[in-house]
C-alpha cells in the first residue's frame, strides 16, 4: 500500500495554524510555527517524490553515467534544506523574543500585554 504523504503534511499545516490561532502564550505560538514549518517541508519533499525512484545521490556507476529518469526531484530537497535553516533562525529569534518578553513584562502570555493595545 502506498502512503499519500500529502494528507499527513496538510494535517500538520492545519494543526500548526490552529495552534497559532488558539494559543495566547507566545511559546505555544512558536511551537505552532514549528509544526507548520515541518508540514510545509514535508509537503515540498513529497511533491518532489516520484514512485520507484532513488535518492538523488549518484552512488553507483550506472547512476554516474546518466541519472535521467532514475532519481527523484533534487530541487525541493535543496529548497527544504534552506527552509530548515531559516526555520531554526526564526525559532531562535522568536525564543529570544520570549525571553526578552519574560524579563520585561514577567509573562509570555500575549493577551496580558496591554501596553501595546491601540
Amino acid at each position: 500500500m502506498q502512503i499519500n504523504f500529502y494528507t499527513l503534511s496538510v494535517f500538520l499545516i492545519v494543526l500548526g495554524l490552529i495552534g497559532i490561532f488558539l494559543s495566547r502564550d507566545f511559546i505555544k505560538t512558536l511551537i505552532g510555527i514549528a509544526v507548520l514549518e515541518s508540514g510545509v517541508n514535508l509537503l515540498l519533499i513529497s511533491i518532489g517524490y516520484i514512485d520507484g525512484r532513488l535518492a538523488p545521490i549518484l552512488f553507483n556507476d550506472e547512476l554516474k553515467k546518466s541519472a535521467v529518469g532514475m532519481v527523484v526531484d533534487p530541487l525541493p530537497q535543496a529548497l527544504v534544506l534552506t527552509a530548515i535553516v531559516i526555520g531554526v533562525g526564526l525559532l531562535a529569534f522568536g525564543l529570544a523574543m520570549a525571553v526578552w518578553m519574560n524579563n520585561r513584562f514577567g509573562t509570555t502570555d500575549v493577551s496580558e500585554l496591554k501596553e501595546l493595545k491601540g
Binding site: 494535517f11 514512485d51 530541487l75 535543496a78 530548515i84 529569534f93 526578552w100
Partner: protein, 239 residues
C-alpha cells in the same frame, strides 16, 4: 480570573481554525488533482539531473543544486542566518549574570571527551557533504552541539566572543572571496574554477567541498553564539 477562563479560546480564534480546516481540505484536493503524488513533475530540476554529475562533479545531487546551480541563494540563506544570530544578540544583550548551576556528575565526565567525538562526527559530515546526505549546515549544527556541551560546564569562565564573531566573519568573507575568484577566472560569480575530479572521491566537485567547509564553520560559530546567549541569560531565577 473567571473572565480569563471564559475567554481562554476566543471566538475569532475558533472561527479562524474552522476556516483553516476548510483551507486544508481544499489544499489537499487541489494537490491531489493538479500534482498527483508520486508522479514525475520535474521541470527545472530535469536539467539539473541531466547535467548533474558531469558538470559539478558532486555525487550528492542536492549539494550540487545548493552550492552550484543555486549557490547565490545559499549565500542569501547564510546571510539570513547571520541576521537572526544578530537579532538574538540584540535582544539578549550581554552584561547579565552567567548561568550558575550545580555541576552534574554525568555531564562532567561526559564533557571530557564528548565534544571531541561530536566534533569529529560534525567534521565528517561537513567534509562528506558533496558525497553523502549531509553537508555544511547539518555538520555545523552538530559541531555546535559539541561545543554546547563544553559551554554547559564553562560556568563563570569568560567566553571569547571576539574569536567567535571574527571566525564567523572570516568564513563569510572566504565564501565571497571564492565567489569573486570564480568571477575573475570564469566570468561568473561562484564559478567552479577547481578541477571536478572523479565523481565520488573525497577531493572532487571543485569548490563545492570548500564552500561547505566555510559554511560548516560559519554555521557552527553562529549557533554557538546563539546558544551561548540563551544560557548566559537564564540567571535571575537561578539565584
Amino acid at each position: 480570573m473567571l473572565e480569563g477562563m471564559k475567554n481562554k479560546y476566543n471566538l475569532s480564534g475558533i472561527l479562524a481554525s474552522v476556516v483553516v480546516v476548510l483551507f486544508g481540505v481544499l489544499l489537499l484536493k487541489t494537490l491531489n488533482t493538479h500534482m498527483p503524488f508520486g508522479k514525475d513533475k520535474m521541470q527545472v530540476a530535469a536539467q539539473y539531473v541531466e547535467l548533474g554529475g558531469s558538470s559539478t562533479g558532486a555525487q550528492n545531487m542536492v549539494t550540487s543544486v545548493v552550492l552550484s546551480f543555486r549557490a547565490l541563494d545559499t549565500l542569501g540563506e547564510v546571510t539570513v542566518l547571520f541576521a537572526s544570530a544578530m537579532a538574538v544578540a540584540l535582544l539578549l544583550a550581554p552584561g547579565a549574570v552567567l548561568w550558575r548551576r550545580k555541576e552534574n556528575f554525568v555531564l562532567k565526565v561526559a564533557a571530557k571527551w564528548m565534544p571531541y567525538l561530536v566534533g569529529l562526527i560534525g567534521a565528517y559530515i561537513v567534509s562528506q557533504g558533496h558525497l553523502t546526505p549531509g553537508g555544511g549546515f547539518q555538520g555545523g549544527v552538530i559541531i555546535a552541539t559539541g561545543v554546547m556541551i563544553m559551554l554547559l560546564l564553562a560556568g563563570n569562565r569568560k567566553r571569547n566572543e571576539l574569536f567567535l564573531h571574527s571566525l564567523e566573519a572570516l568564513m563569510g568573507l572566504s565564501f565571497i572571496t571564492v565567489g569573486i575568484i570564480g568571477l575573475i577566472k570564469g566570468g561568473s560569480f561562484l564559478y567552479n574554477f577547481l578541477p571536478n575530479g572523479k565523481v565520488g572521491s573525497l577531493f572532487s566537485a571543485g569548490i563545492l567541498p570548500l564552500l561547505y567547509i566555510f559554511i560548516g564553520i560559519k554555521v557552527a560559530s553562529e549557533f554557538v553564539s546563539i546558544l551561548d546567549r540563551f544560557t548566559s541569560k537564564v540567571e535571575k531565577d537561578a539565584d
